[in-house]
């Protein structure tokens, strides 16, 4: 054992509380070595142990007849999609690394989530991203920094995803002051596999050799998991060594080698080295296998001179895997690694004593019970502040704003504006499956080897979540489901990324707890299991916590290619229907934020039963083949949804809204939930109306698609009209003009 004295200062520097250190002492029955202290520190960080969130996460519905691997069981959940095929998918954050080094931070976020998927034995097929930055408008130092972060993150995602050959097919980008200094980078990956190919991260078979394969270990990313579990401060830049450096080419080789290896039948268990690197992978595989693992640090391939055992254990160098090989099949495994020119070494073996034991040659530097380290970390239930419900917006305090100007202003607002500047940098067509390109409600991907059509969307309106965390989180689930329905898909699973501030602050902990409850209610209502996800706490900058951002990524299935639906109006003369009722609430709306500078009020009401009835009715119509286009109303309300539906085919729309005593700005830009704009051929108008009436959902024919590229909206006495080209121009140019100036 190491003889470095363990002082209270050293314990504190490792982020362990005095109580947690007491627990370490009682588990070991002695004082830990310096290496052991490091090992406990990273494994018991929030990032690895979920010590502040695990009791909350238990509220998620995680089971269902199609769930093959449950949330928390392995690196990612697995869902049956029929005919012996399954999907593995997950979202994960890389917020803190991206704040200090946006390019590498985002790139390695993508690399990490891809490894989580192929560790399951699945071939990764597509990516999505959910991104949040501070405002990129204006010439302040902060907005320049935000633009640099935005550009760097997008370039980093592009670098990694493009090189490894996975299409980034959907995502979302929002800009809000609360993310200044603490951007959010959540990366999603989905992979496909046969049921019998599911691989396990368990160290099975006492005596089996443990192989290390992939990039050599360096000093990058030292104790990154612990870094990610702190608030960002002015001094965080000094943490740059905690950010890893990605090598997508190495990962491509690793990916192909691992899939070949898993197909060979030589593997007893496999686990990627992500957060907490070698430490996490050894103790987790041992814990899952009910076994022990013994490794020798001296055998680990290294790229830096003079790495100490502590550094090797805590390094988060990327593109590395731990593989437990069936004894006797080592030669076959070596041949595959050699084919792909990957460094590898046999660094240890599976034991039967339940211990994670690390040697440095003859000397034992770590000897701890694996299960206690991996699964018996501390758990906390923090104090939650009482919730003060937001009050309704008094419309008399909101001056009327001319819709003629408000609509282009909303379309030019970076959170609503076209994200083409972003996704044009991503290869979104490689693997030849992208049937609906980025920019529609949900991306649609045809998995040719399985003959299956998948849809995916990622959503979270964090303004709603800030004003009412539980309702906002439920709305995120409902919106994701609505987006899938608009593409013709039925949801099959959810992965969530919970991005919050420091949980020690009661208002933040309330947000976390309420959001989990909101997601749980939403997922139960839609009967979709949560298959896993990620928690990122301590998202704070010196200015305070971010708006709570529980990102929802939902995956759905489409039965037939003829059901694939997009948001764009397709032909002049088609009838436009609005499904769902329009209310008058402005709370939390982008109209209130963008035009009036107010981020307040009660978010729109959500009625699950009505919402579900509408999705079902829409899907029934799509399956009958009568829906030409479908687009949900979200940020910017009906006005923005109608404008976006006009984009893409050079068409326009003539809309007539029934005269009410409602203000036109409220009518066009409120964000009442559960509304979908569809278009149908004139010959299908009656059938569509009859079908919707039969389903008992509110709807109204509000206009027709026109050959003239003009959007005109009549409300009572007034007519508002915009040339579609001028709307396209503000929508498309908003982000490029900010980024290329």
């Amino acid at each position: 054992m190491s003889t470095s004295p363990i002082t209270p200062e050293l314990v504190a520097k490792h982020g362990l509380s005095p109580e947690e250190y007491e627990k370490v002492l009682s588990i070991l029955g002695r004082e830990p070595s310096f290496e052991e202290l490091g090992v406990f520190s990273v494994m018991w960080s929030e990032h690895c142990s979920y010590k502040n969130s695990r009791p909350e996460l238990r509220k998620f519905p995680t089971t269902g007849p199609s769930v093959l691997v449950k949330a928390g069981e392995e690196n990612a959940g697995v869902i049956d999609i029929g005919d012996g095929w399954a999907v593995a998918f997950k979202i994960e954050s890389h917020n803190h690394p991206s704040a200090v080094e946006p390019f590498q931070g985002a790139a390695t976020g993508v690399g990490g989530i891809i490894r989580d998927i192929f560790t399951m034995g699945a071939r990764p097929v597509f990516l999505m991203d959910s991104l949040r930055f501070g405002s990129i408008e204006g010439e302040t130092e902060q907005s320049k920094t935000n633009r640099r972060l935005f550009a760097g993150v997008v370039a980093g995602i592009a670098h990694y995803g493009n090189c490894i050959g996975l299409p980034t097919i959907a995502g979302e980008v929002y800009f809000d002051e609360s993310y200044s200094g603490n951007p959010l980078v959540n990366a999603f990956c989905l992979g496909i596999l046969r049921h019998e190919q599911i691989a396990r991260g368990a160290a099975k078979g006492v005596g089996n050799p443990v192989f290390y394969v992939g990039a050599e270990t360096g000093r990058d990313g030292l104790a990154g998991a612990a870094f990610a579990s702190r608030e960002l401060t002015e001094e965080s830049k000094a943490d740059r060594p905690a950010v890893q450096v990605g090598d997508p080419f190495r990962e491509k080789l690793l990916l192909e080698a691992c899939l070949e290896l898993l197909a060979s039948g030589c593997v007893a268990g496999i686990q990627d080295m992500g957060a907490a690197g070698l430490t996490c992978s050894t103790c987790e595989t041992a814990s899952r296998g009910g076994t022990g693992v013994e490794i020798d640090i001296q055998l680990v391939p290294k790229r830096a001179q003079g790495l100490s055992p502590y550094e090797v254990l805590l390094s988060e160098s990327q593109e590395r895997m731990l593989v437990i090989v069936n004894k006797g099949q080592e030669e076959q495994v070596k041949q595959i690694f050699e084919k792909w020119d990957l460094p590898y070494a046999s660094i240890g073996f599976v034991t039967d004593d339940g211990r994670m034991r690390v040697r440095n040659g003859e000397k034992i530097v770590v000897d701890v019970p694996a299960r206690a380290l991996a699964d018996d970390g501390p758990l906390y239930s923090r104090d939650a502040a009482p919730f003060v419900p937001p009050s309704q917006i008094d419309l008399s305090t909101v001056p009327y704003s001319d819709p003629l100007k408000a609509l282009p202003a909303l379309l030019a607002y970076p959170s609503i504006a076209s994200k083409r500047w972003v996704w044009r940098q991503y290869d979104h067509m490689v693997r030849t499956g992208t049937a609906v390109l980025p920019g529609s409600d949900a991306a649609v991907f045809v998995v040719r080897e399985a003959g299956k059509i998948l849809a995916a969307a990622t959503d979270c309106n964090a303004i709603y979540c800030r004003l009412d965390p539980k309702l906002g989180a439920s709305i995120a689930v409902a919106e994701a489901a609505r987006n899938l329905a608009c593409s013709g898909a039925v949801p099959i699973g959810v992965t969530d990324n919970l991005n919050f501030g420091n949980p020690h602050k009661p208002e933040n902990f309330y947000q976390l707890r309420a959001a989990v409850e909101g997601i749980s209610e939403g997922c139960r209502a839609f009967n979709v299991p949560v298959t896993g996800g990620n928690v990122s706490l301590y998202n704070e900058s010196p200015a305070g916590a971010i708006d709570p951002t529980p990102t929802i990524s939902m995956v759905g299935k489409i039965d037939d290619v003829s059901h694939i639906t997009t948001q764009t109006f397709k032909a002049a003369g088609d009838r436009i229907f609005l499904i769902g009722e329009t209310g008058s609430e402005l709370g939390g709306s982008h109209y209130l934020l963008v035009i009036h500078g107010r981020k307040e009020g009660a978010p729109p009401v959500l009625d699950f039963l009505k919402e579900i009835a509408i999705h079902k009715a829409l899907l029934a119509l799509i399956r009958k083949g009568v829906v030409r286009s479908a687009h949900d109303c979200s940020e910017g309300g009906l006005g923005v949804a109608l404008a976006e539906s006009c984009f893409g085919m050079g068409l326009g729309a003539s809309i007539e809204l029934v005269a009410t005593n409602q203000r036109t700005d409220v009518l066009l830009f409120n964000e009442t939930q559960g509304r979908i704009v569809i278009s149908v051929a004139p010959s299908d108008e009656k059938a569509a109306a009859a079908e919707l009436a039969k389903a008992g959902v509110p709807f109204r024919c509000i206009g027709i698609v026109t050959a003239e590229p003009e959007l005109s909206i009549t409300t009572g006495e007034s007519i508002y009209a915009w040339p579609v080209n001028s709307l396209v121009e503000v929508f498309e140019n908003a982000i490029p003009s900010l980024m290329e100036s």
Partner: protein, 239 residues
């Protein structure tokens, strides 16, 4: 047609090309690992897109030293069809099988989108089923696709009608605005003097399926298949 799709470390459009050939033309394309040294018996060779060796150093500059490249050179010299798509085009230029080079996009950003191409010559094994002046809609996805060659080389390409595709607008006008990457003379694809080696930046394999946004890419593969059927005897039998 027997077709080989070369798999370099970092190739990522290899299975896309293989699937397109099989699904839409019934051609059994075989993935050939870059450490192999023979291409005997193949009528056509595809160097697919991707990031061979990570595109570290310079695109295609390491892949050209792969063991398989001697066999590619031999195949090219004996008249076998060699098609390089995107990274494959870059490798063919680095290997000296096609003239010129591909530089960083003018915007300095990676660009993935559908663009339009005008067929500049239908007198080649890769464009014979297309017609001169035809406009195709095919996606690009590259960061380094700006074609460059010295004036003398450009003149020779022009005179010999080796330029097979140029970037154009949707009506076939070759304009600076329609040039997505800054290529000289809007060049999107060129063939060798012997016309059996062809490199292009756009991805025809991505537009063979109407579900995936069009079938304008089929012409390139269809031309190759018909040419091989007509010239089967010229395929190499020894490697």
């Amino acid at each position: 047609m027997r077709c080989a799709v070369i798999q370099f470390p970092g190739s990522n459009c290899d299975t896309d090309c293989q699937a397109a050939l099989l699904s839409f033309f019934g051609v059994e394309a075989e993935i050939v690992w870059h450490k192999k040294t023979s291409l005997a018996g193949y009528d056509a060779v595809v160097l697919p897109g991707g990031f061979s060796y990570g595109d570290y150093l310079r695109c295609g500059s390491i892949a050209r030293f792969s063991p398989i490249m001697d066999a590619v050179r031999l195949a090219a010299s004996t008249g076998v069809l060699v098609l390089g798509i995107c990274n494959g085009f870059q490798i063919l230029c680095e290997a000296g099988l096609l003239p010129g080079t591909l530089m960083r996009n003018r915007s300095l950003l990676f660009r993935c989108e559908h663009i339009h191409l005008r067929v500049e010559s239908d007198a080649s094994p890769f464009t014979s089923v297309l017609h001169h002046g035809q406009v195709l809609r095919i996606p690009i996805a590259h960061g380094e696709g700006s074609y460059f060659a010295d004036p003398e080389t450009l003149r020779a390409l022009d005179v010999n009608k080796q330029i097979l595709f140029r970037y154009c607008d949707d009506r076939g006008n070759v304009t600076p605005e329609a040039n997505p990457n800054g290529s000289l003379e809007n060049i999107a694809g060129i063939c060798s003097h012997g016309r059996n080696v062809f490199g292009l930046m756009p991805h025809p394999e991505r537009v063979c399926d109407s579900v995936l946004g069009g079938t304008d890419g089929r012409g390139v593969f269809q031309s190759m298949i018909e040419w091989v059927a007509d010239h089967r005897s010229s395929a190499i039998k020894q490697g």
